[in-house]
């Protein structure tokens, strides 16, 4: 695998994470429990779609086959997506959505912080930009997890249930394969495992305050970032997200 082949894969992973999670979060638009949360979720989704344009735009450039960010987003099928499974899981209730966001934001912050000093300047500048936005997302998702976890009996129960459901998907974000090895050797991206201590420190602190307990068990659901196997949820998401470009290829406005 050449450096650019690995870099393309790496950029797809970054861009597909933000694309798929951004789309998931946008599904809340007009459905949130209160107006302020609706606006907050829509803004978060918007930031992630903006980051997607940068990551997938660069992916297309590195690939060198003339594919744009839009081509990559709307004209690939499920098996070509490289997002972690966590990002494609359904929204569930509001608490589950914010728990998923928190588990992702905490990883994203650590990753971007390291990518800021990437040997690949184009990666470093995207990370610098995205980091500012993700810092803000993490502040909000962390605060909401604490507010709902340490809230009423009902909200606490739901947040614990969300954590029990989502936790087995966390491990995939720290997996390593050949793509990562090339990225590490080239000084482009960190070893995913190196991000784990800071991540554990962040989530433990927030869960302690939220009176939530990380479930026992070490089983990890994976296969998204390598493209080996996505969940059944991704295809359903794509049918809605890609519908217009599938029905009217090349449509623009």
């Amino acid at each position: 695998m050449t450096r650019d082949e690995a870099l393309f894969e790496f950029l797809l992973r970054m861009g597909d994470n933000t694309l798929i999670l951004g789309h998931r979060v946008s599904e809340w638009c007009g459905h949130s429990p209160v107006l302020e949360e609706d606006i907050a979720l829509a803004n978060t989704a918007l930031d992630m779609i903006g980051q997607t344009q940068l990551w997938l735009g660069l992916a297309g450039e590195v690939e060198g086959k003339g594919r744009s960010a839009d081509d990559l987003a709307f004209r690939r099928d499920a098996w070509d997506f490289r997002n972690v499974l966590l990002c494609e899981l359904p929204n569930g209730d509001f608490g589950q959505t914010l728990m998923r966001q928190f588990l992702y934001d905490a990883w994203s912050l650590g990753m971007l912080d390291r990518l800021k000093t990437s040997s690949e300047a184009r990666v470093a500048e995207i990370a610098e930009k995205a980091l500012k936005e993700v810092t803000y997302h993490l502040e909000r998702s962390g605060d909401t997890v604490i507010g709902l976890g340490d809230g009423t009996e009902e909200s606490h129960t739901r947040m614990q249930k969300a954590l029990d459901y989502l936790w087995p998907y966390v491990g995939e974000m720290f997996e390593k394969d050949k793509v990562d090895e090339v990225m590490i050797a080239a000084g482009i991206a960190p070893d995913p495992a190196d991000l784990r201590p800071r991540y554990d420190e962040t989530v433990s602190r927030v869960f302690a305050e939220a009176t939530l307990t990380i479930p026992d068990g070490s089983y990890v659901h994976k296969g998204g970032r390598t493209g080996r196997m996505h969940t059944e949820h991704l295809g359903h998401l794509l049918t809605s997200m890609q519908w217009l470009q599938r029905a009217y290829p090349g449509a623009a406005w």
Partner: protein
């Protein structure tokens, strides 16, 4: 054609309003990073505020339209991501215009210093986000008016 001085171009750009917060100009917002001539081509370097801000493409169109109206024929717009935009680049004039318009300007402390309507400091945050990516929603506990706060990043 004669090449207008870059100072003149900056003055023209200072008259182009931000499409979402028209009370301030693109120069006030601090997103115009450079204006330079390269041969007979004018290069304007613009940095986005937030990566997903929908105003970004409108801003590029507005800059192009304004400069074409002033007779600039060869124009190149460059996107610059680094250094990332910060609210420190808002001009003093921009901050004053925001407050007069009813939007509290950004503060390093992370929240507004006073209500833009009645100047009270008795404030509460309603949402970390607002009507555009660059704003949060606050309320004054004295005059009870909700208002936008320009987030500090």
């Amino acid at each position: 054609m004669t090449r207008p001085a870059t100072d003149q171009v900056w003055k023209w750009l200072a008259e182009v309003p931000d499409p979402e917060i028209p009370a301030i100009s693109l120069v006030d917002l601090g997103i115009i990073r450079d204006v330079a001539w390269q041969g007979d081509t004018l290069t304007v370097t613009i940095t986005p505020t937030y990566s997903g801000c929908p105003a970004t493409s409108v801003i590029a169109m507005d800059v192009e339209a304004a400069l074409r109206a002033h007779g600039i024929e060869k124009l190149e717009l460059k996107r610059q991501l680094s250094p990332a935009w910060t609210t420190d680049w808002l001009t003093e004039q921009g901050r004053a215009k925001l407050e007069a318009y009813g939007i509290a300007p950004p503060q390093p402390a992370g929240g507004p210093s006073r209500c833009p309507q009645c100047q009270s400091t008795n404030l509460e945050r309603i949402s970390q986000f607002g009507s555009t990516p660059c704003k949060a929603t606050w309320r004054c506990r004295d005059c009870l008016e909700p208002f936008d706060y320009f987030k500090c990043i």
